[in-house]
């Protein structure tokens, strides 16, 4: 069996290193069936894709397989790089995966001739299977979770089963991979999301929560937090305060590191559940900033997006965080179906009125695999089919309305943000 040269390429936004690629790397290296020479490198998405291709094509040994995770905001770069690599090295097999391509795997293969294989869903088992199959000259198309070209056709293997025992995944944190100490490292304690927001792919179609064991969580956290020079990191969990007990346990594990000065930033929380006790637990864990909705305050959009919103509880949650010295980032989405111009302006007004610490506006991205992607026609949502899939118009807001709201919202957020003390003061 031939030793396979594999290149993993992370195309990242600023301040983020692909955790997905870390998991793929450790899973592939931990598979005893594989004899691989694995190279991993990361580039910033702002780099010209020609230089990403350059780095791939100058690797020694020359990669037999190149794998890249794809997100909506990195897709153009990734596909450009794939096209260039394939043109220069047609014999290289190109594998992509991630939320941008998994839910529309066949469409991606039809539209991106340079891509050979798409991994659907979680890749930690599918990707090593693909490598195993390639090294034996087998047919990749039959592998569960893989969609590939086969005999001029596009063939999809069976739907992959979600892994129940997450502890079976090799830990990227204890495997000796480099861990950033500057705040760009992320830790994961569970997968799935309790919410089913129609614009979001966080739960990847499943609201079932699958958690790592507490032993594994503690081990991963300690591996990251106790690293010499570690100043800050974050968690990728969609809701950090999933339950009070869970938050309490996490706080206990994190508190010794917090006492040494290790800080947690941009932790996603359900702010309406945060009271003084939860805020104290967050503070003891070293949390300095949390991120939350409301995304919108418009009743129609909330219903369309399957979100609940209680302004009083939301305000109380922000206040509890402020009192504990924790900055809150309030996120708002412009262009949700059902939202009128007044709804968006009310949302900006509401968020700023809470003096949370930061207000962040983003335009709706109609993401593959989400309810909005499926129901776009029914809802009258027009969006760019090209990534990052920004909304073009809704029945309530024209293209011009959306652009004006983006400009207005950014000016309002900037006016709010520019102030003397970035640490919210207790009222």
């Amino acid at each position: 069996m031939k030793r396979l040269a594999v290149a993993l390429v992370g195309v990242n936004t600023v301040g983020y290193r692909s955790l997905a690629l870390d998991y793929l790397q450790t899973s592939a290296l931990a598979d005893p069936r594989l004899d691989i020479a694995l190279t991993r490198f990361d580039v910033d998405v702002s780099l010209d894709a020609w230089w990403t291709a350059y780095r791939v094509l100058t690797l020694t040994p020359k990669p037999d397989v190149v794998a890249l995770p794809v997100f909506c905001w990195t897709a153009r770069h990734v596909f450009d790089a794939c096209r260039l690599v394939k043109a220069a090295s047609p014999e290289t097999t190109i594998v992509v995966g991630g939320p941008e391509v998994g839910p529309i795997a066949e469409e991606v293969l039809a539209e991106q001739p340079s891509v050979d294989i798409v991994v659907r869903g979680e890749g930690e088992f599918t990707f090593p299977e693909i490598l195993h199959s390639i090294s034996r000259g087998g047919d990749v198309g039959g592998i569960p979770g893989a969609t590939a070209r086969s005999g001029g056709r596009i063939v999809s293997g069976a739907e992959p089963k979600l892994l129940d025992e997450l502890d079976m995944l090799a830990s990227p944190f204890t495997a000796g991979l480099p861990i950033a100490t500057d705040g760009s490292a992320y830790v994961e304690t569970y997968r799935g999301c309790p919410h089913r927001c129609s614009y979001c792919f966080e739960g990847k179609g499943s609201s079932r929560i699958r958690s790592f064991s507490w032993e594994r969580i503690e081990s991963d956290i300690n591996a990251v937090a106790a690293l010499p020079g570690m100043t800050a990191f974050s968690f990728i969990d969609p809701v950090f305060n999933l339950t009070r007990d869970r938050l309490g346990r996490l706080s206990e594990i994190l508190a010794p590191h917090a006492k040494r000065g290790v800080r947690l930033h941009t932790i996603e929380v359900d702010i309406e559940r945060v009271d003084a006790e939860q805020a104290a637990l967050l503070g003891a864990a070293g949390v300095v900033s949390v991120e939350s909705g409301p995304q919108t305050v418009g009743a129609a959009a909330l219903a369309e997006c399957r979100r609940s919103f209680d302004p009083d509880r939301f305000a109380a949650g922000v206040e509890a965080c402020r009192a504990a010295g924790i900055s809150v980032e309030c996120d708002l989405i412009v262009g949700l179906p059902g939202d009128t111009l007044e709804d968006v302006l009310d949302g900006i007004d509401f968020a700023i009125s809470l003096d949370p610490g930061r207000v962040q506006l983003s335009t709706l991205h109609v993401l593959p695999g989400t309810d909005l992607w499926e129901r776009a026609t029914e809802l009258g949502l027009r969006f760019d089919r090209e990534p990052p899939h920004e909304v073009i118009s809704t029945p309530q807001l024209s293209y011009a309305d959306l652009r004006r709201l983006e400009v207005f919202g950014n000016a309002a957020a900037q006016t709010y943000q520019a102030r003397l003390s970035l640490t919210p003061r207790s009222r």
């Binding site: 007004d349 700023i352 400009v407 950014n410 000016a411 309002a412 709010y416 520019a418 003397l420």
Partner: protein
């Protein structure tokens, strides 16, 4: 949205169109102790949401002999946002931009009379736009990773209205996120209304949130709200 209370630190000294006689009167400077008392009163009674926030207006702040004391009075009274309405010229000199930032200024509202060429002509100060641009850059650089806001105030008169869209483009070139077009010096006409509408559209495509105030034709803006609102101070 965010509210700023406008506090006059002097009078008859803001940049304006020379042909309208803006520079013919002698500016009056208000004493720092008087301004300080007003600031303390505003801070104590603040009821407008996140803040308190103040905008120093009335004269070019960098000609006020007690500007450091004024800023210090605001910060010690607890103002979160201190804004200077300025022609920007002085920001390019010495360490004024860095000094203003370190003293506590987070907002600059730069007065623009038109595009770069018109601005210099109408102000009668050759090179003023370039100085303002250099000052805005120096201010942002001094802030490093801290958030600061640069906006523009565009007073229009019959001499400059033809170039109001040019002023908006100039504001974008300064890095302004928003612009307030003050039409108090302008009488209504269909042509002028069209020029103001064109300026608003120009603002949007340049990613500047703009509105027109004090216009005979009524409120002119995409919305009935602005990214911030200004309220008059006690002395106005």
């Amino acid at each position: 949205m965010i509210t700023f209370v406008e506090v006059a630190i002097g009078s008859d000294g803001e940049l304006g169109c020379r042909r309208c006689g803006a520079s013919s009167t002698q500016p009056h400077v208000r004493r720092a102790s008087d301004v300080g008392a007003e600031l303390a009163s505003i801070a104590t009674g603040w009821r407008y949401g996140p803040g308190p926030n103040v905008s120093f207006i009335g004269i070019e702040p960098f000609v006020h002999p007690e500007l450091p004391q004024l800023i210090a009075a605001a910060t010690s009274a607890g103002f979160s946002r201190v804004r200077l309405r300025t022609d920007g010229g002085a920001l390019a000199k010495a360490d004024n931009a860095a000094g203003a930032f370190s003293a506590g200024v987070r907002h600059l509202e730069i007065v623009l009379l038109g595009s770069a060429k018109t601005h210099d002509e109408r102000s009668g100060r050759s090179g003023l736009f370039d100085d303002a641009a250099a000052g805005a850059t120096a201010f942002s650089r001094a802030a490093e990773s801290s958030a600061v806001s640069i906006t523009a105030r565009i007073p229009v008169c019959r001499h400059s209205v033809f170039d109001v869209a040019g002023a908006v483009v100039a504001a974008a070139a300064l890095g302004a996120s928003a612009a307030t077009i003050d039409a108090s010096g302008l009488k209504w006409s269909t042509d002028r209304e069209a020029l103001l509408d064109a300026a608003l559209e120009t603002a949007t495509v340049n990613r500047v949130a703009a509105c027109v105030i004090n216009w005979d034709g009524g409120w002119t803006a995409p919305y009935d709200r602005t990214p911030w609102q200004s309220l008059p101070g006690v002395t106005q």
